[in-house]
């Protein structure tokens, strides 16, 4: 079996963006998802600092320090895009106008609880940013993360052990091993990578998995990892 690398996970998420969706992409891995929107689909990327219709990263000679996304990356504005102020941007988020937010996570619980902002590093300052607003109010919260910690401990759990970002909000999880929907009954596996058995996936998961009747193979094209 070959787990997906992070670009491949981003690719897999990107395949599920529908035409016309308003999508917010979290810092880190999720921002890469906009590179993998399917041909012919127009997706509006919202960055919580107020860029509505964020385009690709700016080329070196077009980079403008006044045009950044929520990750401080110098970006461009896509056709039809604009910039609003932060109060309005979060009114948009809080008001439920975001179709999908894709966030990284430390842990996700079977009831949809999300923990992605505080991993309890002693004495370091907090870093919540817009995560709580996004998690609480987006129509769908998709999580993108490695299936387990570097030490192999599960991140999909019965109950989160780290401080919550929002209760009962996650609707999908895209990992290096599987695509999992989260519903009222818990985790439902929709895709699993070739060469990994259902039992092996369950062994790497801290809560019971159900498998969809049409559970398929999670496959992505070859894409080199960045950085």
């Amino acid at each position: 079996m070959t787990p997906l690398n992070r670009q491949q996970i981003a690719w897999r998420v990107g395949q599920d963006f529908e035409n016309g969706m308003l999508v917010n992409l979290g810092l880190g891995m999720p921002v890469n998802c906009s590179d993998y929107i399917r041909e012919g689909r127009e997706v509006v990327i919202q960055s919580e600092n107020g860029v509505i219709g964020a385009g690709p990263l700016a080329s070196a000679n077009a980079a403008d320090s006044d045009l950044v996304d929520a990750g401080s990356r110098k970006i461009t504005i896509a056709p039809g895009g604009t910039v609003i102020d932060s109060a309005w941007s979060f009114a948009m988020i809080r008001g439920g106008h975001i179709d999908v937010t894709v966030l990284g996570a430390f842990e996700v619980a079977a009831n949809g609880d999300l923990a992605n902002w505080d991993n309890r590093i002693p004495d370091k300052g907090p870093l919540v940013g817009g995560a709580m607003d996004l998690a609480a109010a987006a129509k769908e919260v998709w999580v993108m993360m490695d299936h387990t910690t570097r030490k192999g401990a599960p991140r999909l759990l019965r109950t989160c052990t780290l401080p919550l970002t929002a209760p009962s909000c996650v609707t999908r999880i895209y990992t290096d091993l599987a695509v999992i929907f989260r519903d009222a009954a818990g985790f439902l596996v929709k895709e699993i990578i070739a060469g990994l058995s259902r039992e092996e996936l369950q062994a790497r998961t801290g809560a019971p998995l159900r498998f969809a009747g049409d559970c398929g193979v999670l496959a992505a094209p070859e894409i080199a990892e960045k950085d």
């Binding site: 600092n49 006044d66 102020d85 209760p167």
Partner: protein, 221 residues
């Protein structure tokens, strides 16, 4: 005696900010940091400040210089994490109990400032409900969902970065420079804008992004 809010320098613009002032500082991700005003305030060496700033530690913001100079007693923000594993000045002071911290979800941070300028003393939001940041706050159900009550934030002074200003204090912003500027300008008793260009001629009505009635002083920086 026409209205003219332009002043000569950042130092002059901040000259009457006193000990213990509550200061809002705009800026996000490198865009719209009012760094000239922050540095001018640092040079005044008035202490006991409360900062209302989205990030207390962003490397492109000069906010950290106020903290490092020991002038800050409290920070209200949505982020205060220094880069890397070493503790930043903020983190060390906070660890030592020398600086107070209020951490808010960024949308709550923005909305509470907007509320402060809009005469709304308190409002309900879903952000933070059921989390450590909502703990201890008043909660209430609406339509079967949980919300926390958040109070308005106001300030003595707001530092805002714009692009063009006119003598009335009207402002335009370049792209993502806007961020917290408009809301902060409405929520402070005294709003000071630093801009690229401060002109006498009025900005065209439909290009103005922040009406000058919210801006008290303008300085080119």
């Amino acid at each position: 005696m026409a209205i003219d809010k332009r002043v000569g320098s950042a130092a002059e613009a901040v000259a009457d900010i006193g000990e213990g002032a509550v200061v809002m500082i705009s800026g996000f991700g490198g865009a719209g940091f009012a760094n000239s005003l922050v540095l001018a305030l640092r040079d005044r060496k008035v202490g006991g400040l409360t900062l209302v700033v989205n990030s207390a530690t962003h490397p492109l913001s000069q906010t950290h210089t106020l903290i490092e100079a020991g002038l800050v007693r409290k920070v209200i923000c949505s982020a205060a994490r220094g880069r890397g594993t070493a503790l930043s000045a903020f983190e060390q002071l906070h660890k030592d109990g020398k600086i107070e911290l209020v951490c808010l979800p960024q949308g709550t941070f923005a909305e509470s400032i907007r509320a402060g300028g809009a005469g709304i003393p308190a409002y309900y939001t879903p952000a933070g409900y059921g989390t450590d940041l909502g703990a201890g706050k008043e909660v209430r159900q609406f339509n079967g969902r949980g919300y926390v009550l958040e109070e308005a934030i106001t300030a003595d002074v707001a530092f805002v970065r714009g692009d063009v200003a006119d003598r009335f204090g009207n402002l335009t912003f370049r792209h993502a420079q806007k961020n917290f500027g408009p809301a902060m300008a409405t929520a402070a008793k005294l709003t000071i804008a630093e801009v690229r260009v401060a002109q006498s001629e009025p900005i065209t009505p439909d290009r103005i992004e922040l009406p000058g009635v919210f801006v008290n002083r303008v300085v080119t920086a």
